[in-house]
Amino acid sequence: MAVDARSVRERAAPRFLQALPSVYWLLLLPALGLLVAFYIWPLVQVLWISLIEISPNAEGLALGNYGLLFTDPGIQRLLWRTARICLITTLITIALGYVVAYAMVHVDTQHRLLLLFGVLLTFWLSVLIRAFAWILLLRSDGVIFDAVNLFYEPLRQLGVVEGRLRLVRSETGVIIGMVHYMLPYAILPLFANMQGIDQRVMLAARGLGAGPFGSFWRVYLPLSLPGLVGATILVLVFSLGFFITPALLGGGRVVMAAEYIYVSMDVTLRWGLATMLATTILAATLALVALMARIVDLRTMFGAK
């Protein structure tokens, strides 16, 4: 088909027209127009505000609002906290997600459906309901709390850990809630990727003398790398924007960037600060994706190749 269309065009169109992209690209124009008007342009405005509206606490800094990134310890703590929680969340989510996806690929169809249903089920619950459910489950007079505390208390008395156990209304609670929310976003791309892996290569690896661990480590894991990277980017980028879960499960004490930006926009009117943080996070996200693109071919990851 593609070959036919090109040969027709070659015959019909003069040479200079052939240099132009295909007419099908015109179909993208309305979507592109919308994107520019409602996404790119506001984004440019955000960038613009971050440059011209200097927050009172950034006055006199060489880089304006961006100077706060280097001089304000509170902002640095905020970004570091956000990065730390997102990284921990991503690590745990990917590790758990990989196991579930692996299982889903290898069980029979009926069990796979059951697993898929279990994964998708969480999509139907509102993030608020989930947060409150976790609070009920993990609060300090709950069953889970008592069970965990059984192991925690001896450790505390030995001095291995410090402070009272807090499963919820703490950073631990936020990470539990975020991992729960992000799991489907890790499992589904991993599952799609693993389904594309020819299971016979594992048999071949075993046939050629690799042990179970060796064949996984040297054959299966590299083959699943595109899915792994894709899921990591997805989870990490989504985590950066978390808002409700940290606010509810953090007992008010886990302040992350997204909510901080909201407060600066809507409550304290420090738009310069808010847009600077938004721009910084966007730049960090893009840099992250670019970095990942150097490691794996992004086209493979999104199934375009």
Binding site: R81, G163, R169, V267, L269
Partner: protein
Amino acid sequence: MRRAQSFHADLVQLALERHAQGRIGRRQLLAGLAALGAVPALGLDRKALAQAQEIVLVNWGGDAIEFMSDAFARPFEADTGMRVIVDGSGPSMGRIRAMVESGAVTWDVCDSGGGNSIQLGQDGFLREIDYSVVDRAKLFPGMDFRWGVTNYLYSFVLAYDTREYSADAAPKNWVDFFNTRDFPGYRSLRRDVLGHIEVALMGAGLAMEEVYPITESKEKLAFDTIRGILDDCIFWSSGAESQQLMRQRDVVMGCFWNTRVKSIYDESNGAWDWTWNQAIVLPGAWVVPQNNPAGDAVWPFIASMQDPARQVRLFELFGNAPANPAAAPLVPDELQRFNATAPENYALQLPVDSAFYGNNIARLNQAYLDMIAI
């Protein structure tokens, strides 16, 4: 999804919940309102009214749309023939600013706060109040702002679980609140600094009269006081969240909005109670964005909402207290105990220094969030 950040948004949610629970009967309220319709027009500037067709009042949505229509809009329409539209989009500071900057202002009167009015006004987003039409005498002292008129009052009160404390063992002031040795257990503060500098200063042992003016060293003292109980403290953001803490007994005491505690008090038959002692009383305020479409017609409308009977009606619906001192005698006796501006309650409380927050809240909130964050 937007979280209920302000007290105003919270009132709406509260009213919705109480209505759903059958605690507020709509019929009976409407009947009461009919009697109020006979209120005489208050110094109306007919000329100003003639120019505008309608006034848009913006509040925080939900039942507040209907309640404010009944308490304020319909009586005004009956008096003047001018249409009032009540819009529940939520006039946050960010939205007011965005609207004024975009040059397409569609709001006339917005339900904001005293400190907010100062912050927004200083940045040039609000019109100055015309006190030749709006009556300063119908406000508590210090509640007449340059860019805002107090529309109702609410308080941050010390609330406690009565199942934890007998009447005489209960925490009585903020010193008790910050005393985690004699009053162990989790307690709760709001995740916003408004009113909390005062709470912490009294917690550090200052008398109510010594709190103001807030100096740099007092700021530091307040922050240190809160830092001292961080490990025993859970911070709430929305009013619904504060109620959740009370219901689930996650905390033994808290600094909550009086309206929310009252609601828990009602539903739990007094399992939670509060003291007006050392409470911080704060003004909600009507503000008018620059270049509002109805022009000067907003002033007679705002003046009409100062009417005591109309404010009492809103109090009965929302639990937020009338801003007009003359309204207190009209509040039914059985509800006086819950009225923040009943004279005997008001005397126990500290009216917030709105100017202090108007000038400092952005800086303080940034420092506060940084301090409480793990």
